[in-house]
Every structure is written in structure tokens, then in C-alpha cells.
């Protein structure tokens, strides 16, 4: 099996997808692969949290791939339904509006390679549209407006707006892909507390609250290194996401 775990990519299991490849593989690699991950503490298989889904040190390659194919799909796979719907509606809307305004010729990997590589390719279906445009151009290199051509090249403001809309959609989806690659799966909601009589307080002596109070609750999902450095993104999302 390769470094990225080929089996996981082909047949994704949500827990495996979230954990990504074993961080020990990354830490042993030379070069830039090891710079964010080599500082991780050694992986101890005997710890109880070994089975807990975490993306700290790992990347969700499959989630990132499906997020590139369809905006929002990666967040959907990880359980962030509300964010997934918002991303899908917003990114797909501006991408389709860009295509409608400028036509398929605004996505051009030959003449407009800069815009294509800079942003448009961030939405996976742009590759299909580019292939379709190439087939149109190869079939009819110089469409004659007098003879009802099958397509017309974009011009003036239409070309500008179409290119900007599709490029910005690609850049935004690239943000979503990077976000989902570092995001742990949403934890399952906590089971309901029993309604019966609760047992009394434990008479045994309690540990000092110094570390126990500062430790995060068990419900909190682990935070990835990138998002921890960000300091703004919460991985918990306990209430706001559907």
C-alpha cells in the first residue's frame, strides 16, 4: 500500500477518510512533507484515543477530492451538512452565473491558461467544460454569426464577468478544499442523559482540578494543527451546523 493508503481512497470509510494516512509515515519522510508533522508526539497505539477520529497531522484526501469535484461535498461527507449546503449553493451559483454570462469559452486552458490555472480549475467540473469548449473550437474554429453557429466566443464585458465569476468560484472552492482537508469529521451527538434517579456523588477523593478543568470535554473533536494555528475556526460546531 502506498503512502496515501490506496484502499482508503477507493473505498472510503468515513472514519478512515477523516484520519487520513498514518502520521508516522509522514514523520519518517524527508523533505517538506515532514515539517508540520514531525513535531507530533509519537503515536501510541495503546492509548484509548487511538480509535477516535482525528485529523491532527493527517489530511482528508478523499474529502478534499470530492470537495473539488462538487463544492460542499467534502463537508457533507464529514457531517457538516449546513456548511455543505451553503458552500454548494454559493459556489455553484456564481460558477453557473459566470458560465451563463460569458459562455463556455470563458474557461479556456489554452488561451486563458493564467485564469484557468489561477482559479477556474478549483472547481472540478471546469475541466469537463474546458474539454467541451475545446471540442467545440476544434469542430468550428471560426464561428460565423451569419450562419447560426453552435457557439459564440465571449466578448467585452461578458468575457470579463464570466471569467471573473468562474475564477472566483474556483478560488473559493479551493478554500473549501483546503478547509475540508484539515477538518476532522463532525462528532456524533452525545447520547441523551437517563431520566431516572441519578447516583449520588462519588465518595472517593477527586483529583485536583488543575488539569481536569482545563482539559476540553470529551465531546470536543480534536483540532488540526492548521486550524489550531488559525485560532479562529472552531472544529466543534456543536450547535450551529445541521
Amino acid at each position: 500500500m502506498g503512502i496515501f493508503g490506496t484502499t482508503r481512497l477507493v473505498a472510503p470509510n468515513l472514519t478512515d477518510v477523516a484520519t487520513g494516512p498514518d502520521p508516522r509515515l509522514w514523520a519518517t519522510l524527508p523533505g517538506p512533507w515532514s515539517f508540520p508533522l514531525a513535531s507530533k508526539p509519537p503515536h501510541n497505539p495503546s492509548t484509548p484515543s487511538d480509535d477516535a477520529p482525528t485529523s491532527s497531522g493527517g489530511l482528508n484526501f478523499t474529502a478534499a477530492l470530492v470537495a473539488w469535484v462538487c463544492p460542499g461535498w467534502g463537508h457533507w461527507v464529514l457531517g457538516y451538512t449546513g456548511r455543505a449546503i451553503l458552500l454548494f449553493v454559493t459556489i455553484t451559483s456564481i460558477w453557473i452565473v459566470g458560465l451563463a454570462v460569458g459562455g463556455v469559452t470563458v474557461i479556456d486552458s489554452r488561451e486563458g491558461r493564467l485564469f484557468f490555472l489561477m482559479g477556474q480549475v478549483g472547481v472540478g467540473p471546469a475541466v469537463v467544460v474546458d474539454r467541451h469548449r475545446q471540442s467545440l473550437v476544434d469542430r468550428e474554429p471560426a464561428p460565423d454569426p451569419e450562419q447560426n453557429p453552435s457557439y459564440a466566443p465571449a466578448y467585452a464585458r461578458s468575457a470579463t464577468l464570466g471569467t471573473i465569476y468562474t475564477t472566483v468560484a474556483g478560488m473559493l472552492n479551493l478554500l473549501a478544499v483546503l478547509d475540508v482537508a484539515h477538518r476532522p469529521p463532525k462528532p456524533a451527538s452525545a447520547p441523551a442523559k437517563p431520566t431516572g434517579p441519578q447516583p449520588g456523588p462519588d465518595p472517593r477523593p477527586q483529583p485536583t482540578p488543575s488539569r481536569a478543568a482545563s482539559a476540553p470535554p470529551d465531546d470536543d473533536p480534536p483540532t488540526s494543527n492548521a486550524n489550531r494555528a488559525n485560532g479562529e475556526t472552531s472544529q466543534a460546531d456543536p450547535e450551529g451546523d445541521a
Partner: protein
């Protein structure tokens, strides 16, 4: 498919296409960054207003520098 094979004439209406783009940028960015989706409308609205205000200000400054 004809829509996507022939560009739309938007010569005079092109400024109307810019606010939706800003709104989309604000929505996607705050969707990825917010800690609670219930705060998303307020945060995205604030970011949209900031971008619209600053870009309008930049446009005015550039217009003054180039036209006056």
C-alpha cells in the same frame, strides 16, 4: 445549452454583477471560518458591507486620480 454557448449581452448592467460576487465571497469565507452557523448572517453581512464600502472608496479615489 444555448445559454452557455452564447454570451449574454451585459454591456450596461455589468455593475449589477459585482455585489452578488462580493456577497458570495463573504458567505463562503464566513461559512468556513465561523464557529457557529447561527451567527453567519451577521458576520457575512458585516464582511460584505466592509468589502463593498472599501471597494467603493477605492473606486472613488481611483476615479478622482484619473479623471480630475
Amino acid at each position: 445549452m444555448s445559454w452557455f454557448h452564447h454570451p449574454m449581452p451585459v454591456s450596461s448592467a455589468w455593475p449589477l454583477f459585482l455585489p452578488p460576487l462580493l456577497l458570495a465571497v463573504a458567505l463562503v469565507y464566513r461559512t468556513l471560518k465561523t464557529t457557529d452557523l447561527r451567527r453567519l448572517p451577521r458576520e457575512a453581512g458585516a464582511l460584505f458591507a466592509q468589502m463593498l464600502l472599501l471597494l467603493t472608496l477605492a473606486a472613488v479615489v481611483l476615479w478622482v486620480l484619473t479623471e480630475l
